[in-house]
Structures are given as C-alpha cells and as structure tokens.
C-alpha cells in the first residue's frame, strides 16, 4: 500500500526521513576514549530485580567485570519493597566500591541511594527514570534516550500508515520510564499527524505472564481499525502471539527495546518490528563507566549523555542468535578490550 501521500496534514516523508538513520544500521558506538587505570580488585554490587531483563544485564556484566579485574557480586533484590531494601542494606554493609542498578523502580531505593551518594560510592543505572540525577553518576537508558525512543516510535507508526494511522501504545504505569515513553509517543503522534488516532492502554504489571495478552486482544477486538500496536516492554507480550492467533487478529506490532523473546518473535514473523536497544553495549558501557568512576576518571561522554546504540529491527535485518539480546556491534567486546588494553 502506498503510504507516501501527504494526506490529512501528515508529512509521511518527514517521518520517514527522521527514522531513516535508525533503519539500516545501528547508531554510533558510544565509548571511544581509552581507559587509563584498571580498577583491579574493586568490588561492584549488581542488583538483580529478578526479571529476565535484569537477568540479562547481570549475565552480560560478568565478562567485562572479569576483563577489568572487578569482583562483581550479584545481589537478589526482587521487585518487592522489602526485598529491595534488604538488598541495599547488604550493599551498604558489603563494603562495595561501586553499584550497578538495572531496572529497579527508583521509589524503592531513594533512601539507600542518598546514603551511597553521601558515602561517595559511585552508582550507575540502566533503564531507570525519575532517579535523583545528582546522586547517580551515569544513567543509561534514562530520560534522554526514552524521549528519543518515544518520538521515533511514533514517527515509525506514522510512516507505516500515514493519515490512516490508528495506533495504540501499551503502557505499564508501574514501570516509571514507560509513562514518559507513552507521553512522548502520544504527543508526537498528535503533533505530527493531527488527523491520526492514538490511544494509551494500561497493562498493569500484575498481569504480566497471565492476563496481559487478553487485555491486548480485547482492546484490539474493541478497536478493529487499529493499524499498529506499540509495546513499551516485552513482558507485556508474553503469550501474545498465540492469543492473537486464536482471536484471528492481525496488526502491526512494534516493541521498544525488545527482549530476547520478542526478538525471536520478530525473527519468526510473529511481530513486525522492534526499536532495538543494544543491551550488551549498554551493559559494557555501564561497567566501563563504573571502572572509570572508581578510578577517578571521567566516564565516556556518550554514556553521560545517554546516547545508546539503537536500530529498528525487522525480520529482514535481524539475524543470528538473539537469545542474549540484540547487538548492533557484534565486535563490541573487542572494541572495549582495545580501549582497555593500555590501562595499567
């Protein structure tokens, strides 16, 4: 179908142009400055929220930590208030030199963060928004990159269907960064395509892995004109393909930062696309930043500015084993090792 007309005040070409840099190749590699001092013997705590994404961060972080001589301790936090509090107590008691916190709601660890910051222990985060930026040295996948994703995904949807666009964004309000993502997404659609329809539907975190697919199916059944469904998180779609099949629904699907399960779904044609986030590079960047922070060096500028490696992934450009996530730079390890090679 031809989506290149400029009907209803939609500038499809502009949208297409805006997403073009992310269609065929990943965005730039973030770290280019060599490391000067090795953080040998430093102890780093990694908080594990228990979800598959956190598990991925933890698994990927092992290799760079080893290469840098960092002792990485994985501490189970779960997602419960007490679990997180107890885990941070262990962090505070454990005499760590640095802390890596992926994807934990900041509301659960405001107090220990203040204590860590007061104690001068560097903290880096990934996938956390709304955190006290003065206390966190490097926040990967935080506000700046989230706003960019919201905008680009909205433009992607407009680029697909032009003036007919009727898009739904699934948000999980409990996951703080998704609220921001949803806001930017809706704003962008209404700004760039006043005639298009956009709606935001909540998928509570408690429904992940159980009734979430039904919420999606019922929403799509109730809105049969929907052209694209955009998901803030992969967990929202656990069990979605078979639910869509049994309900005879066909719709374009786009995922923010697809996890391995979604990537596999893109590869086998269950899903249309994902706005890929290079988790391995992000994780290595975080470990690299910690290494620099613990040895009184400046972290990489792109890391501080939250510039991530991203690309729109489809069945056409996504190849290979995705079970550890997608990477735009299969040689990322070598690149980092090269940067670290001259340190002492």
């Amino acid at each position: 179908e031809d989506t290149n007309d400029d009907a209803g005040g939609v500038d499809v070409e502009a949208a297409q142009a805006a997403i073009q840099p992310y269609l065929d190749a990943p965005s730039a590699f973030p770290v280019t400055e060599p490391l000067e001092t090795l953080p040998t013997g430093k102890r780093v705590a990694l908080l594990d929220c228990g979800s598959p994404v956190c598990g991925l961060f933890a698994a990927i972080a092992v290799a760079p930590a080893e290469a840098l001589g960092i002792e990485l301790v994985r501490i189970e936090a779960g997602t419960t208030a007490d679990g997180v509090a107890a885990a941070f107590d262990s962090v505070l008691e454990g005499g760590f030199d640095g802390v890596f916190v992926p994807a934990l709601a900041p509301s659960l660890w405001e107090r220990p963060l203040a204590e860590l910051s007061a104690a001068g222990i560097p903290v880096v985060t990934s996938g956390v928004t709304g955190v006290d930026t003065t206390a966190v040295a490097v926040a990967g996948a935080s506000e700046p990159s989230t706003e960019l994703s919201g905008r680009l995904m909205a433009l992607w949807a407009i680029a697909q269907d032009g003036a007919d666009t009727d898009v739904v964004f699934y948000v999980t309000p409990e996951i703080t960064f998704l609220n921001l993502l949803g806001e930017v997404f809706t704003e962008t659609v209404t700004e760039e395509c006043p005639g298009c329809s956009v709606r935001v539907v909540d998928i509570p975190v408690a429904t992940f892995g159980s009734t979430a697919p039904q919420i999606v199916v019922d929403d799509l059944l109730a809105h049969p004109n929907t052209t694209a469904a955009v998901f803030g998180a992969g967990e929202q779609a656990i069990g979605l393909p078979s639910a869509l099949t049994t309900a005879d629904i066909e719709v374009k699907t786009l995922f923010n930062a697809p996890d391995p399960a979604v990537l596999a779904g893109i590869q086998d044609g269950s899903y249309t696309a994902g706005f890929g986030l290079d988790l391995p590079v992000l994780t290595w960047t975080m470990v690299d930043s910690l290494a620099r922070l613990m040895t009184d060096q400046e972290p990489a500028e792109a890391a501080t500015n939250d510039e991530l490696v991203r690309q729109f992934l489809t069945i056409d450009n996504l190849e290979g084993d995705v079970s550890h996530g997608w990477t735009g730079y299969p040689d990322f390890a070598d690149r980092f090792l090269a940067l670290w090679a001259d340190a002492n």
Binding site: G209, S210, D218, L221, A222, P241, T246, S323
Partner: protein
C-alpha cells in the same frame, strides 16, 4: 424424609442459586454485554479466544481440586506450573531432546515433585499448607537455577504449532482440558477411589478408621496434581513459544479462586470439577466483556472480587441462611410446599 423428588424439582434445584449461583452470574454477564456491546461480545472469535486463553488457568485449577478434595492445600501449584514450563523448554532447547521424550520426562518430573511433596506431608506430619509453601520457595529456586532468570527461546515448531492448532473451532489445549476434566470428574464422582478421596478430605481420622489408606490417598492426589500442573506447564510453553521464568506464580490465585468458587457450585460445598470449570469461565467472561467495553484497568479486578463474593454469597445464603432466600421462597410458592429441612450444625 425418603420421599422421591420429582424431576421438575430436581432440575430446579440443580440450577437454583443454591446449587449454581455462578450460572446466574453468567446469565447476567451475557445479557448485559449482549445488549451493550453486541458486535464484539457476540462475535465468534471472542468466544473461541475466551475458551482458549483460560485453558492453563483451568487445568491448574483442576490440578488444585484433586488435593483439595482430599483435604490438602497446595500453595505450590503455581510454582509447579512454572517449573514444568521451564523444564520442558530446558530439555527441548538446552539439552536438545525431541518433543515426545522431553514432554514425557517433564511430566514424570512434575509427578515426582508432587510425590516428594506428598511424602514430606505424610512422613514428617507437616501441614500441607506449610509444606506446599516451603515447596513453592524451593521450586522458585529451581526455576531460577534452570533458567538463570532468563527466558529459553526457540521451541521446536511442532510444540508451538500444537499449542495453537485447532480442530474445527477448538484448540488442542482446550480439547486436552476437556479430556482431563472428564477423567477427573469420572474418578472423583463415580468411582470408589474418588469417594475415598472425598472421605479423606472430609475427615482424615474417620477415613483412616474406615480402613482407607489416607496417606496413600494424600500422596496420590498430590502426584495427580503434579501431573496435571505439569500438563499445564507444557501447554504454557507451547502457547508462549518460549519458557519464561516469571509466569508460574501468577496462576496460583486464579486457580484457587476458581476451585473455591467452584466448591460452592453444584455439590454444595464439595470441591468439584464442573463447578471449577464453570467458575473459571464465568469470571473470564465477565472480564472479557468489561475489557471489550474499554473499562479502566481497575474494573476487571473489582469485577473479579464482586463476582466471587456475589456468587458465593448467593449460594451460601441460599443454603445456610436462617430463612429461605428470595429465590427459594418464590420457587416454593410455585413448585411445592416441601417441609423445611432440619436446621443442624454444619459438617464435622
């Protein structure tokens, strides 16, 4: 007292509030949504997807009914579903076994978990509530251990196709559910074994005095529960197309809700198969209608809570209330003036 009931009064009794309040709740749901959102609610695909999406919850609830009938709580049933879902994925992908042996081994392992739980309960005289709490922690550890907290991807297509293939309008998983329900119903309601199970649940001490090997019954029902939750877990993986370490526990509460609501249906307080299935689908139909109507996210939760209270409240007040419920009174006036039953204490 030994007067034979007429067929008419028997039918009326079978579908009265007292026996099947959930049917009335279902009727209300269907009528309301057929009026408010006829195009979507009455569409065929709404119903096929409804039948299909509840299969895992329904099988988990059946799995739970069996030990509950024998008086054992099993709070680990969600974790058991999670373990078998993970295990079948692990065998298929990480170990690379073919589909049939992988499923066979998974089911065997699931039954074994049930066996262990049963043995712990009867050998160490641990209350089933506590033992199964303990097991649910252990199984959560097992899932994390097998998965490292990550999904296992790339299930073979035979398994995934099986999870979504249809016979006419019913998916294979749904047909499996029906087959399992028939078997469980037959055993529980029709056979001496079923009677021994209910006797064990009714009064352990008295059942033992009646010569029933209650320990074997308890262990056996937990094995059966393990097996069924194993089937549920395999179907989860087949339907997801991957194994996800987080999905198990979410089935616990819906399964318990269905089993308990089901126990107030048809059999007047006994855990039973059809009441449980009915409950699963009544609650699901209500949620479906609300979601199709675009209700805010808190509405389905509120509906679940209210439906449960209303259905059980109708059933209990019809059964236990000092005076007959409105429905009973209307029925009495129309049908026959039966003598009141003696008001006696509840069961031992």
């Amino acid at each position: 007292m030994s007067q034979e009931p007429t067929i008419r009064s028997r039918v009326l009794r079978a579908i009265g509030f007292r026996n099947a309040s959930a049917i009335w709740v279902l009727v209300v749901i269907v009528v309301v949504f057929s009026i408010t959102i006829p195009e979507t609610f009455l569409a065929a695909r709404t119903w096929t997807s409804l039948l299909d999406t509840q299969v895992v919850v329904a099988i988990t609830a059946l799995a739970l009914v069996i030990p509950l009938a024998a008086g054992s709580f099993n709070l680990a049933v969600g974790a058991q579903v999670g373990v078998s879902s993970m295990m079948v994925g692990w065998m298929l992908v990480s170990i690379g076994l073919p589909v049939v042996p992988a499923i066979g081994l998974t089911l065997a392992a699931s039954a074994l978990i049930g066996l262990l739980m049963g043995l712990v309960i009867v050998r160490f005289h641990i209350d089933s509530f506590i033992a199964s709490l303990g097991f649910s922690s252990l199984l959560a550890a097992l899932v994390t251990f097998m998965s490292g907290g990550r999904q296992i991807l790339g299930m073979p297509s035979e398994l995934v196709d099986f999870g979504t293939a249809r016979v006419v309008i019913f998916t294979y998983p749904f047909l499996i559910l029906i087959a399992l329900a028939l078997v469980c119903w037959h055993v529980l309601e029709r056979t001496p074994l079923g009677r021994r199970i209910y006797a064990t649940g009714g009064n352990l001490e008295a059942a033992r005095l009646a010569g029933i090997r209650t320990n074997r019954i308890i262990v056996g029902t937990l094995v059966a529960c393990g097996l069924l939750s194993g089937v549920a877990g395999v179907l989860v993986t087949a339907r997801l197309g991957n194994s996800d370490p987080t999905i198990g526990p979410a089935y616990l509460i819906p399964a318990f809700t269905a089993a308990f609501l089901g126990s107030t249906q048809f059999k007047g307080g006994r855990f039973n198969i059809w009441g449980t299935l009915l409950s699963v689908y009544v609650l699901a139909a209500g949620v479906k209608g609300l979601q199709l109507s675009g209700a805010p996210t808190w509405i389905p939760d509120a509906f679940n809570g209210i439906a449960l209270l209303v259905a059980v409240g109708l059933a209990s007040s019809a059964r236990l209330g000092g005076r007959p419920s409105l429905f009973e009174r209307l029925r009495h006036r129309r049908v026959t003036a039966q003598p009141l039953e003696p008001l006696q204490q509840k069961d031992a």
